[in-house]
């Protein structure tokens, strides 16, 4: 098991290295760049050249990449040009990460807490109107774009009914103490309950919007998987042996049906970041996704590089954790 984990971690390093090269070249092959973003209408060839020279952007790509790599191994990924000018790009990622973790965590809790039970009950009542209704609901979840869901949620819950805040992470003037950067947790740790509650209220709508796709996917996989298992011989055997329905469902059906669901959850966690870009942008929620969108618009190369590489590393890590979880759920994999 340990050798397996180590090998996978080494693979991850390789993936990130190759990706860094691709991202580096790709960003610089796009037209425009940070210099345009900084100069705007004031741009002249002369000023452009001066700024490019000052920032080292006039040098050949391999030289630029070499310098980048040299600094990167020392933990220096350059400073932001536009997202938070002058700030270390890696620090920006680390500052934004808690916000995205908090948001993704709540979104996944919602998706799992709704998706698995609903999927299970829909499968048990296959063909009933409730099943059909749940299937349609989940289809809508996948089909409707996140920004539209977000707009509707904001319009009704925030603007029309004034129940929840429109955007941001915490209300103006909350004067909250920051510990971990996860505002809900910070409020609990410092016993600033109002700050925690306020942060939670800010999280609900973005988390709902972000959870729609994972929810729909988890629901459908659970339903399909439970349907498969219900038809298995060992379920029939268990029924024939006279086991109680509770034991059959808990020990035989649900546990066996969970394998594909866990894989799915893992993949969805990995994919959350792409959903977070959209969700965080429309909710002006200052997480990694929002930083990524801003960095792309403003061509902030150092920030883009760090964020894309970090996202890849996270994706690989999550997949590794899924494989470990797999081993725990399914003893056959463990012993192999």
């Amino acid at each position: 098991m340990i050798r397996f984990v180590v090998r996978r971690l080494l693979q991850m390093l390789l993936v990130v290295l190759v990706l860094s090269m691709l991202v580096f070249a790709w960003l610089r092959s796009l037209p425009g760049g940070p210099v345009s973003a900084m100069l705007g209408e004031r741009q002249t060839p002369e000023r452009r050249a001066a700024l490019e020279a000052a920032l080292g952007l006039d040098q050949p790509l391999p030289v630029q990449y070499g310098k980048f790599l040299q600094r990167a191994v020392q933990g220096d990924f350059g400073v932001s040009t536009k997202v938070l000018p002058g700030e270390d790009a890696l620090d920006i990622f680390l500052q934004r990460l808690p916000a995205t973790i908090e948001l993704s965590f709540l979104a996944m809790v919602l998706a799992v807490a709704l998706g698995i039970p609903l999927g299970y009950f829909a499968a048990r009542r296959r063909g009933s109107p409730a099943d059909a209704g749940a299937v349609i609901f989940s289809l809508v979840g996948v089909a409707v774009p996140v920004f539209f869901t977000a707009f509707l949620l904001k319009y009704f819950f925030a603007v029309e009914w004034n129940l929840l805040p429109v955007s941001g992470r915490q209300s103006t003037g909350m004067d909250a103490t920051r510990v971990t950067g996860m505002f809900v947790l910070d409020g609990i740790l410092t016993r600033e309950w109002d700050a925690s509650w306020d942060a939670l209220k800010h999280l609900i709508l973005p988390a709902l919007a972000l959870s729609t796709i994972p929810f729909a996917v988890i629901f459908r996989i659970t339903r399909a998987s439970v349907l498969d298992v219900l038809d298995e011989d060992y379920v029939r055997t268990a029924e024939a042996k006279g086991l109680t329905a509770k034991v059959i469902r808990g020990r035989h059906v649900l546990r066996n049906a969970m394998l594909p669901v866990v894989t799915t959850i893992g993949l969805q966690v990995g994919g959350l970041l792409s959903g977070a870009v959209l969700t965080e942008t429309v909710f002006s929620y200052r997480g990694v996704g929002e930083a990524l969108a801003t960095a792309f618009r403003e061509k902030d190369y150092p920030v883009l590089q760090v964020l894309i590489m970090a996202a890849a590393a996270i994706y690989v890590l999550v997949n590794l954790m899924v494989d470990i979880a797999y081993a725990i759920i399914d003893p056959r994999i463990r012993t192999r």
């Binding site: 037209p31 345009s36 100069l39 920032l55 952007l57 740790l189 410092t190 909710f283 618009r297």
Partner: protein, 555 residues
């Protein structure tokens, strides 16, 4: 999991949380700081985060909007106009040839850190701005733009020196007279900052690092003289707060606090305003103006201080060298209709490359008529019927002079095609190559514009045509290109206001009647919107609102 193990797990979790909680203490101050009476907080929705807080290195409007509330210059701008008025200097007089300017200073001003504002502080500031390292020279874009050079290239700098001729009298020398001086001292970037704070925060210690600039401590601890002092920048929540300066030399600010909340998404800003969690935001989409007013907000429309033009580049397309062709293009455009259908209320058809509030504007010029027949005739005379034009517009951008580039472009393109011109549609995103392609001369024709920095004709037409080698209109290949550039410089150096104004009026007439290097389209008023109960916003044509007069009532 067995019930026993469940209990154990939960016990562990609770214990861990309790341990964590005991080591994290609330850092709230209970007195709720701020000083003075609590007269409400004005919350403004900003479209982007500020770069940092030293206006000298700043380049974008979102940064200046914040620093403007904390800093003042020697000269100021009368609220609601582009007119120069005394601010930290009470009066200024030039010597006979306009190269030495003596500024009398206010004697009742202190910086936020308690340091006195005097002639020494003024000279310290100018020398600080002048004396920049290599990175600082690139980042100090506005100084380079208006002064031309820094201390390492002093001969080419407009600024030549500063001398404290009294406690409250400073003499600034410049290399030669220009219409921009001393008006340029109203630029936010050239504001007066506390010498002590500049020194202690190593304000000039900027460095190029990797692909960006790393800024010294001072850039996040700004100290000025203005009606608000710096509070804090809560990066995690995207909020900048400023506190009222209760020791301000002038009339104290009406609100005790201003908070700028960063909300990049436009529809979210609108929803935040409707929900009442912000009190205003900038550049509401013109299509929303009526709806916003209906909901009880007030849309404050600024006087337009900008120009949208259709740029032409004869280097890219030699057919454009013929004046008749350029005139034909102009006659083909139905600008009246464009202004009415694509631009907000208050927009106007342009007759020249500057708005009518700028000195040197020529009131005698009439707009080129919309006359497709004349356009076809001129094209025939020039032998350019059915000519092809690579005509470009930018995406992913909205500027005060062009709220929706694509729609404006479509209207112009339709007009050009109606007179038989074959338009090749070119497009690129604003930061993704559009500006590069324009400056590199890759488009025959393009739409672009300019918002004035201050009231100076040279800030408009000097920017466009004053630099013969490097301008977006390719005037270098035109027989009159050099003449125009020289005339602009000569006119700009005239000391007498009336004489200078007349010279620029003449140049404006020549540009429009003899040269026509590009086609001025329109002036468009940008707006800002504030919610119910907000009073005292004075819209500025320079989009340079000062919020000290703003109060948030109706609790």
């Amino acid at each position: 999991m067995s019930p026993k193990r469940t209990v154990a797990t939960w016990t562990m979790a609770v214990l861990t949380a309790a341990t964590l909680a005991s080591c994290a203490d609330s850092e709230r101050n209970d007195d709720n700081g701020g000083g003075g009476g609590d007269d409400g907080t004005f919350v403004f929705g900003a479209a982007g985060a500020p770069e940092m807080f030293d206006p000298f290195y700043a380049t974008d409007g979102e940064t200046f909007r914040v620093t403007r509330q904390m800093f003042e210059g020697l000269v100021g701008i009368k609220p609601g106009t582009a007119e120069v008025v005394p601010e930290l200097a009470t009066e200024w007089t030039p010597n006979d040839d306009g190269t030495e300017w003596t500024f009398k200073l206010r004697d009742d001003v202190t910086f936020h850190d308690g340091e006195p504002f005097n002639a020494e502080a003024v000279c310290y500031n100018f020398e600080r701005m002048f004396d920049q390292n290599e990175a600082g020279q690139t980042a100090g874009e506005y100084w380079g733009y208006v002064m031309g050079a820094f201390s390492n290239d002093a001969a080419n700098s407009l600024y030549q020196g500063c001398e404290a001729t009294g406690d409250y009298e400073a003499k600034i020398s410049i290399s030669g007279p220009t219409s921009g001086f001393p008006t340029m001292l109203s630029l936010e970037a050239l504001s007066m900052q506390s010498p002590k704070a500049l020194e202690e925060g190593d304000a000039n210690g900027i460095a190029a690092e990797g692909e960006g600039f790393s800024f010294p401590d001072y850039a996040n601890n700004p100290v000025g003289t203005g009606p608000f002092t710096f509070g804090e920048y809560d990066e995690a929540n995207g909020e900048i707060s400023l506190e009222r300066n209760d020791d301000y030399w002038g009339e104290k600010a009406k609100s005790s606090e201003i908070v700028f909340r960063v909300i990049p998404d436009e529809s979210t800003r609108r929803q935040e305003l409707e929900a009442g969690s912000i009190n205003g935001y900038d550049l509401p989409n013109p299509v929303d103006w009526a709806g916003l007013e209906d909901d009880g907000n007030s849309v404050e429309v600024r006087d337009p201080f900008n120009i949208l033009y259709l740029g032409l580049n004869p280097e890219a397309n030699p057919q454009l060298k013929d004046l008749k062709v350029r005139q034909a293009l102009y006659h083909a455009l139905n600008r009246e209709q464009l202004v009415q259908t694509q631009l907000p209320e208050g927009a106007a058809v342009a007759t020249q490359f500057m708005p009518d509030t700028v000195s040197g504007y020529n009131t005698n010029l009439q707009p080129y008529s919309y006359d497709p027949d004349e356009a076809k005739k001129l094209l025939a005379e020039a032998g350019a019927e059915g000519m092809t034009l690579n005509f470009a517009y930018p995406t992913e951008v909205s500027r005060p002079y062009m709220p929706d580039p694509e729609k404006i472009y479509e209207a112009l393109r339709t007009d050009l095609e109606a007179v038989g011109i074959k338009v090749n549609v070119k497009t690129a995103s604003w930061n993704g190559g559009y500006l590069d392609n324009v400056t590199a001369g890759k488009y025959d024709a393009y739409i672009l514009g300019w918002t004035g920095d201050y009231d100076s004709p040279f800030n408009f037409i000097g920017t466009f045509f004053g630099n013969l080698k490097e301008n977006d209109f390719g005037t270098e290949v035109m027989p009159w290109g050099k003449q125009l550039a020289d005339d602009l410089k000569t006119a700009d150096a005239i000391v007498d206001d009336a004489e200078r104004g007349a010279a620029f009026e003449k140049i404006n007439q020549q540009i429009m009647e003899e040269y026509l290097p590009g086609l001025p389209i329109s002036h468009s008023p940008p707006a800002l919107v504030v919610g119910p109960g907000v009073e005292g916003v004075i819209p500025s044509p320079l989009t340079a609102e000062e919020f000290d007069t703003v109060s948030v009532g109706g609790e």
